[in-house]
Amino acid sequence: MSDASTTPPAGEAPATGTTSDDVLLEVRDLKVHFPITKGLLIDKVVGHVKAVDGVTLDVVRGTTYGLVGESGCGKSTLGRAILRLEEPTSGSVNFAGTDVAAMHGEELRRARRRMQMIFQDPMSSLDPRQTVESIVSEPMRAHGEPAGKKAQQQRVRELLKLVGLPQSAAGRYPHEFSGGQRQRIGIARAIALNPELIIADEPVSALDVSIQAQVVNLLEELQDRLGLTYIVIAHDLAVIKHISDTIGVMYLGSLVEEASSDELYDQPLHPYTIALMSAVPLPDPVAEESRERILLTGDLPSPANPPSGCRFHTRCPYRQETRCDDEVPALREVQPGRKVACHWAEQILSGEIRPSAESHTVAAT
């Protein structure tokens, strides 16, 4: 990754749509490359999987940033790299004025208190042999805050109440709870130390439909009450749209579009976002039948060997003869607060470029 073609243009200006100056998290040109090794005794690096390849984003305090994309687009790796659960290859993560990517040892451990994670599968992220009390108080023990067993027990009770679990839950084990309740335990653990930033990686996708809404509402309620900042990672565009203030759409390791939630839905600009939106089924037969649908062909290309030029050009219904194949589009501000990584965003917006015929179907009746 020697060339700087993916370097963001407007690194200085606040990236998000809002003009608020209170940016909690600044990610600058973050890259996470995993080496592909070959060889029996001596590992020889034969290539890299560029899971995250030059992502720049700002998260404003007290807001929710939604990261959306297909599996394999690097959204989870990005989330983990922000928390340093994955070692970034290059780039910086500036959290409330300090560079997380450069921290080490004790300093990093203490910084983690302020940023926590909620995982997808509550069953595998909770130790089945620990009681709920022990699970929720573990971060308190690790950081000695609040000090003393009594105070910690008191705090556990507060937390359980906050996430809507009964006091009696403290003595029970994770298997005694349903999926939604387990996710509540995970949330209680995440907020135990009053963090500022919470990264939620697919917080509801393992839950039943009727339970998803409970957890989404809980997350929103906690944000209001505790002033939390979220990065929510999900593949479900409807959930992301509901919960986020700003949405970043990822494709093959980089952001292709960033906009406020409403604007993104009203007028998606990047061809990938347009296709993604039209692929989400609506629970309404009438709307389902009347809307235009753009079907993408093929699968996500391998991030070990991404296509040249615009990474989306192999599947793009709007692909043009020039530029797309050989020139990497930069994430540029097309309208105030709206960034798109597409050479032809303006022409697509104005309707000058139409999607190719074979990918463009009106939903069949």
């Binding site: 297909e70 599996s71 809507g164 679990l165 009964p166 839950a169 029970r172 005694e176 709870f177 349903s178 999926g179 939604g180 309740q181 039943d208 439909v209 009727s210 339970i211 998803q212 809404a213 409970q214 989404v216 509402n217 929103e220 593949h235 479900d236 565009l237 409807a238 959930v239 749209k241 509901h242 919960i243 939630s261 409403d262 839905y265 296709a275 993604l276 939106m277 039209s278 692929a279 989400v280 089924p281 609506l282 629970p283 309404d284 037969p285 009438v286 709307a287 389902e288 039948e289 649908r293 079907l295 993408l296 062909t297 093929g298 699968d299 996500l300 179907t361 939903a363 069949a364 009746t365």
Partner: protein, 379 residues
């Protein structure tokens, strides 16, 4: 009652009439285990599928939708399972058919697509081998003929470079392609009925759209009947002619998709619709979740299983079993009658969450559906 939206002028035809291809009557499945109480996973399920029709079975985990399809396909283990009722396919009762005849029907006349293509494809056989196996068994094809047909099938389901994929193993294919290969296998004998059990749940939205489009084309082109099992209301809205909503082993509401989504009557259906975030909804409105979890149920034998989570519950709900009856208040203009199992259905507006909503009963105190005696015959 005043409906919110008027849908009476919808013109689509949910498949012309005619004798049903599959008729499921009063199907029940009970899992028995020594030393444990019996678990009745499916209870008195009745529905029918006409040729060329797409029928949806919707429900959350544990609602019995997958077990229903496995029972119809006779894929449940014979030990520890009691299947009751009738499932008539083209005049034959599938549930009492000898095993050999069932084997002939399965794959040839009825086929199934499973949720996880990785665990339903054999990892040590090439994709081609798994398709030709069906062609050889049911259509008596040999060698090159079977090979050519298999390649044709692969290209028909939209797999690029089918001749190469024919020789490859499942792990060399991506998730979407594996699902396509699985669909190719199930279509190998041009079945008259295809059961798709959550066929897109493991897939990304863009791939999901491709697969759904493929299934839609199949139904239109070859007149295959399709039973679509899913928890995703969006998938149902775009695909199914009629929809059965299941809760805790029983069907609670049946209607055409326009009717169901336009005028949900059962509080559970309405609750499901209210709890899904919609891409086209205004932002900032909180979702209306259904309180509690799908395990908080009352036994159907003497109550409504949904009662503990229901916003519309009345006194009767805890002491009397509602029957699946024709909804007197709704006349579905196109899709036939609207069936409903509820004492106090939703009228027009979405229900409000009951006061003291949060149901917390870890361990499900005394709310065990297994405690149930055999239910009475419905309808």
């Amino acid at each position: 009652m005043t409906p919110v939206t008027q849908l009476s002028d919808v013109t689509s035809v949910p498949s012309a009439g005619g004798a049903p291809l599959l008729e499921v009557e009063d199907l029940s499945v009970t899992f028995t285990r020594r030393g444990r109480r019996d678990v009745r996973a499916v209870d008195g399920v009745t529905f029918s599928v006409r040729p060329g029709e797409t029928v949806g079975l919707v429900g959350e985990s544990g609602s019995g939708k997958s077990v229903t399809s496995l029972a119809i396909m006779r894929l449940l283990p014979s030990r520890g399972v009691q299947v009751g009722g009738r499932a008539t396919f083209d005049g034959m009762d599938l549930l009492s058919l000898p095993k050999d005849s069932m084997r002939d029907i399965r794959g040839r006349d009825m086929a199934m697509v499973f949720q996880d293509p990785m665990s339903s494809l054999n990892p040590v056989l090439t994709v081609g081998r798994q398709i030709t196996e069906v062609l050889k068994r049911h259509r008596g094809m040999q060698g090159d003929q079977a090979r050519d047909e298999a390649v044709t099938l692969l290209s028909r389901v939209g797999i690029p470079d089918p001749a190469r994929r024919f020789r490859e193993y499942p792990h060399q294919l991506s998730g979407g392609m594996r699902q396509r290969a699985l669909i190719a296998i199930s279509l190998a004998c041009k079945p008259r009925l295809l059961i798709a059990d959550e066929p897109t749940t493991a897939l990304d939205v863009t791939i999901q759209a491709q697969i759904l489009e493929l299934l839609k084309e199949l139904v239109v082109d070859s007149g295959t009947s399709l039973i679509m099992i899913t928890h995703d209301l969006g998938v149902v809205a775009g695909l199914c002619d009629s929809v059965n909503v299941m809760y805790s082993g029983r069907i609670v509401e049946t209607a055409s998709r326009y009717e169901l989504f336009g005028h949900p009557r059962h509080p559970y259906t309405a609750g499901l619709l209210g709890s899904v975030p919609r891409l086209d909804a205004e932002r900032g409105q909180p979702l209306q979740p259904i309180p509690g979890s799908p395990t908080d149920t009352l036994p159907w034998a003497h109550a409504c299983a949904f009662q503990p989570r229901c916003a519309n519950r009345v006194d009767r709900c805890a002491s009397e079993t509602p029957l699946l009856e024709r909804d007197p208040d709704r006349r579905d203009p196109i899709g036939g009658p609207h069936w409903l199992r509820c004492f106090n259905p939703v009228t027009g507006d979405t229900p409000v969450t009951p006061p003291g909503a949060e149901l917390v009963a870890p361990g499900g105190d005394a709310l065990d559906p297994a405690a149930e005696q055999v239910g009475e015959g419905d309808q």
